[in-house]
């Protein structure tokens, strides 16, 4: 439900309520505000990054109702009433209550073990896209992983170890390609 509340920066602000990482968050936002700026600047969830202004790089990928979206291409008001999962909330989705608060999601763990990140700026978006990819296709081939991550750009890794990370998380990494101990 949206109601006009205040005037700010020349535009009528709108009250929205999102479920973000399992918590209800209610805020007034300008209608033009992008979801990514709402998450970062209003809710303090800065793990979701902005790498471009044309919906090309995928650094801002989050899950909306379980599916990956580029949060620079969604208005905050469009997310009203929806469930958002950001990188900050990902680990909790895979963790039993009372679990180790420092335990990561299996996809995060796979990126760590396969050296799937270097500078780490594209990483939150890449991880969220990979989680969404496996939700749709739990046992992808290498080619399917590559195609599935086409909307997320990385400049550091050449994708080699990102692809291995996703295959490892899916249990699809050939034994011969596992990193020797």
């Amino acid at each position: 439900m949206t109601t006009v509340t205040t005037e700010r920066e020349g535009a009528a602000a709108v009250n929205i309520t999102l479920s973000v990482n399992g918590e209800e968050r209610s805020t007034d936002v300008e209608p033009r505000r992008l979801l990514v700026h709402h998450l970062r600047d209003d809710l303090g969830l800065t793990g979701t990054n902005v790498g471009c202004d044309t919906s090309s790089c995928g650094s801002c990928t989050v899950l909306m109702d379980g599916e990956s979206v580029k949060s620079c291409t969604v208005l905050a008001v469009q997310a009203d009433g929806h469930e958002i999962t950001t990188i900050e909330g990902l680990a909790a989705t895979a963790r039993p209550a009372n679990g180790d608060p420092a335990a990561m999601h299996p996809m995060q763990q796979a990126f760590h073990e396969q050296h799937g990140l270097q500078c780490g700026f594209c990483t939150p978006g890449m991880v969220m896209a990979a989680v969404s990819l496996l939700a749709e296709n739990p046992h992808p081939t290498e080619a399917e992983v590559r195609l599935g991550l086409e909307g997320n750009l990385c400049r550091c890794t050449g994708y080699h170890n990102i692809v291995r990370s996703v295959l490892a998380a899916a249990g699809e990494l050939p034994a011969s390609e596992e990193v020797p101990a």
Binding site: N49, G51, D53, T54, S56, H115, G120, Y159
Partner: protein
């Protein structure tokens, strides 16, 4: 004597040589890491840059009234408003010749703008969105002038960009150690190769755009600057020099930085503007670059016309190389713009034993974004030219790509090798990398398949491309930099402290932004002290914590900074031995280091852990007479030479005659960077570098039109590859330690990019050789390749 070790050693679990997982990962994988734009800075004012939309224009009236009427917009400043506040123009630290010409470069242009993206006014606003609104509302009158886009046109001075200079030619720098020898070699040559190659401009496109925040202490005068930079230490000095702030008041912090590739190795207008306005307004200022801004406002790479000639005897043994470059500086000199071609100047002979050498470069101004360091910086250009020219020579002599290289490699028994360009290559053994790389791609089977397709008239042509490279990195011996007229040194500093609880604290002057220094430096220290790397903390990238540093670029961090860390650890161990010997009442030579304990040989019960020694050093109750308390080692290491990693890469491509499309179907790389501290990280650097270099060959180009407008300033139309465009990469390595540093290491950050570009182009040309095609311009887009094939077919008909 150096040896090439192809066999694998079993590394200790987590010391040097181990594939230790990275310490940096957890914060980056969970969103805990803080990049500049993530910082919460109460009261910060947002800056927006009004940029010139023309390549070359006089700036007329700037009307800010509409902008100032927008709620949240506080101020608009023009170049003239800020001009008197600068203590100096923007810095160029590398005036390559005494008579180099360069115009003053002000952070906000005054009177005239010289490229699309040049800043003409600054909006100050309460919010991110208001700053953007304000920029859109500033109305500037421009009087457009003619653009200067083409390098030869620039050199002809048809339109002179900087009136005061009288020419667009900034400098000519030459390296011709023995001109007569070069003349003789060409006069006596059985074969002469003469080729022209174009190095298109590239946009670095680190996925994190730039950003800066300046937080002033209004009363105390302190200034803290957060910047997405590779060089907080150099930036601090330059802020002091250009903004007139005492260096003692400036602290620069590079928080998490999302990739650089050289593009954050600079002192940028926005950093200086943020500082100047924070001081002027007495409030924090911040700015985050948009991607479209990044394409024009962050430095670009490459941009050269290369003329290369080889003289060779009848067997294809090269006797001389002669190179002339025209290098695009862009509109102004940034931090090291003029020096970039010089970083390649010594390497146009590649891995070959060539007795005569001639290099000359002229730097010219154009009305385009300034160029500067981009991954490899000068060395990819050099490697491209020699490795493409060797292909031309192979064809002329009538031997294959591997054979022409084998005939010319510097023999393994000639190292250290004094190259005719004047460098001394530290160590090398090139041929085993070629053998292994050919084996990895199953070269003979690929050749057979290529022939089968040719015989069958298959429209999908297979091509195999080979390149062998050597590069000079580990920037740099300070005296060599002096000889090249570079303004600073090339050393690196390290401090290693054992804290009272036994934790080891490393302070490094390097500035990692993805390279994993926290992990690697921990491995080096842990290996020497016999402790767990988790017991080592690594501090960096903050000038208040690490006051002395030369930062991260030029594949220098390990061979200079990592070596310094190792040497500082040796000092710690030395002092620990003296303390332990004193307390255990034995001679220092009687002690051995086992599992982090100093034990008396033969009496293992008489021992002190490093932790116990550290506490004794801290309490200082019972130290040898005259010894200072605390267990600290401190080193500033100036390397005696560059280091010279090398290797051979082989690419296999499929070129579709119907579409002109080129698919990279296989890629193998065998590299030698000496001792590997962490092979997992070495591989990661190579994977990324190889794809970045292949992208120059196949997809990427900053496309300027005749009016000097950048036609592809976004990631939708600038071809940064995705995972779908590239294959997995096969890697192997040899180990030929560098004899010039105690760790035996060489840099590996740029090698992949340096060699993969010619490797891929050689493969495309190999695929199309039966059509009589001998060269293809970069990037080899489907349109270009299709047209080339079409012309060749028409020529054959």
């Amino acid at each position: 004597m150096t040896a090439t070790d192809v066999a694998r050693e079993a590394p200790s679990a987590r010391g040097v040589g181990a594939r230790m997982l990275r310490k940096e990962d957890a914060r980056l994988l969970t969103g805990e890491a803080r990049f500049v734009d993530d910082l919460s800075i109460p009261g910060a004012l947002w800056l927006g840059m009004v940029r010139c939309p023309y390549a070359h224009a006089r700036i007329g009236n700037v009307d800010a009234s509409a902008a100032l009427a927008i709620p949240g917009v506080r101020h608009v400043f023009t170049g003239a408003d800020l001009r008197d506040g600068w203590a100096a123009a923007m810095p160029c630290a590398w005036p390559v010749t005494e008579d180099m010409k360069a115009a003053d470069h002000w952070p906000v242009a005054v009177d005239k703008a010289c490229y699309v993206g040049d800043i003409v006014a600054v909006v100050v606003a309460d919010s991110r969105y208001a700053a953007v609104d304000g920029v859109d509302a500033v109305a500037v009158d421009y009087d457009p002038l003619e653009a200067v886009v083409d390098l030869e046109d620039a050199a002809a001075d048809r339109v002179v960009i900087h009136d005061g200079l009288g020419t667009n030619k900034s400098y000519t720098w030459a390296l011709v150690p023995d001109p007569d020898a070069v003349e003789r070699a060409f006069a006596d040559a059985a074969h002469v190769i003469s080729e022209r190659y174009l190095q298109q401009r590239l946009i670095p496109m680190a996925i994190e755009p730039r950003g800066v925040a300046a937080v002033p202490g209004v009363y105390g005068g302190d200034l803290t600057v957060y910047s997405a930079t590779q060089i907080p230490h150099i930036l601090k000095i330059m802020i002091a020099a250009t903004c007139g702030v005492p260096e003692s008041k400036v602290r620069v912090i590079a928080p998490s930085v999302g990739g650089g590739f050289g593009s954050k190795l600079n002192v940028y207008a926005e950093e200086l503007i943020a500082v100047a306005l924070a001081r002027r307004l007495g409030a924090p200022t911040r700015w985050t670059e948009s991607r479209s801004e990044n394409a024009v406002a962050t430095i670009q790479g490459r941009g050269q016309i290369q003329d290369i000639e080889l003289a060779a005897d009848a067997d294809g043994k090269v006797t001389a190389v002669r190179v002339k470059l025209l290098a695009d500086m862009g509109a102004y000199m940034q931090l090291v713009t003029p020096g970039i071609p010089l970083l390649g100047a010594f390497l146009y002979g590649g891995v070959y034993d060539i007795p005569a050498y001639s290099f000359e470069c002229t730097g010219v101004f154009t009305t385009k974004t300034p160029t500067d360091a981009y991954r490899g910086a000068g060395r990819p250009e050099a490697t491209y030219a020699i490795e493409r020219a060797m292909e031309a020579l192979a064809q002329k002599v009538g031997v294959d790509s591997a054979e022409i290289r084998r005939r010319n490699y510097i023999p393994a028994d000639r190292f250290p090798y004094d190259a005719s360009s004047g460098l001394t290559f530290d160590s090398g053994n090139y041929e085993p990398t070629l053998d292994r790389a050919l084996e990895l791609v199953e070269h003979d089977a690929r050749r057979a398949e290529q022939q089968r397709r040719r015989d069958a008239g298959d429209s999908k042509h297979l091509g195999i491309g080979i390149s062998t490279y050597v590069e000079m990195c580990g920037l740099a011996p300070s005296r060599v930099l002096a000889s090249l007229n570079y303004a600073a040194g090339g050393w690196e500093s390290a401090t290693v402290r054992v804290l009272p609880t036994g934790t080891v604290q490393v302070v490094s002057g390097t500035t990692p932004h993805g390279q994993g220094h926290e992990t690697c430096w921990s491995q080096i220290v842990a290996d020497k002290l016999g402790i767990d790397p988790d017991g080592v903390e690594v501090l960096h990238s903050d000038t208040a914590v690490s006051p002395l540093g030369m930062d991260t670029y030029g594949s220098r961090s390990l061979p200079v900074g990592g070596v310094a860390v190792g040497m500082a650890t040796d000092q710690v161990l030395d002092k620990a031995r003296r303390i332990a010997a004193h307390q255990l009442e034995c001679a220092e030579d009687d002690l051995e280091l086992v599992d982090g304990e100093l034990r008396v040989k033969g009496t293992p019960t008489k021992a002190m852990t490093l932790q116990a020694v550290a506490f004794e050093a801290f309490s200082a109750h019972n130290l040898p007479d005259g010894m200072e308390p605390n267990l600290v080692g401190e080193v500033t290491y100036d390397p005696p030479n560059f280091v010279f990693p090398f290797g051979t890469h082989v690419a296999v491509v499929e070129v579709d005659e119907e579409t002109g499309g080129v698919e990279l179907v296989d890629y193998a790389a065998v590299d030698d960077c000496g001792v590997q501290v962490n092979p997992m990280i070495v591989e990661g650097q190579l994977h990324g570098g190889i794809v970045q270099g292949a992208a120059q060959a196949l997809w990427e180009e900053a496309m300027y039109d005749d009016d000097g407008l950048l036609r592809n300033p976004t990631l939708t139309d600038y071809g940064v590859p995705s995972a779908a465009e590239v294959p997995s990469i096969r890697l192997d390595h040899t180990v030929t330690p560098s004899p010039t540093n105690p760790l035996g290491v060489k840099g590996i950050g740029e090698a992949g990019t340096i060699v993969s570009t010619p490797t891929v182009v050689n493969a495309i040309v190999d695929a199309l050789a039966p059509l009589g095609i001998t060269d293809v311009a970069m990037p080899a887009t489907p349109e270009r390749v299709w047209s080339l094939i079409r012309e060749a077919r028409e020529g054959q008909a």
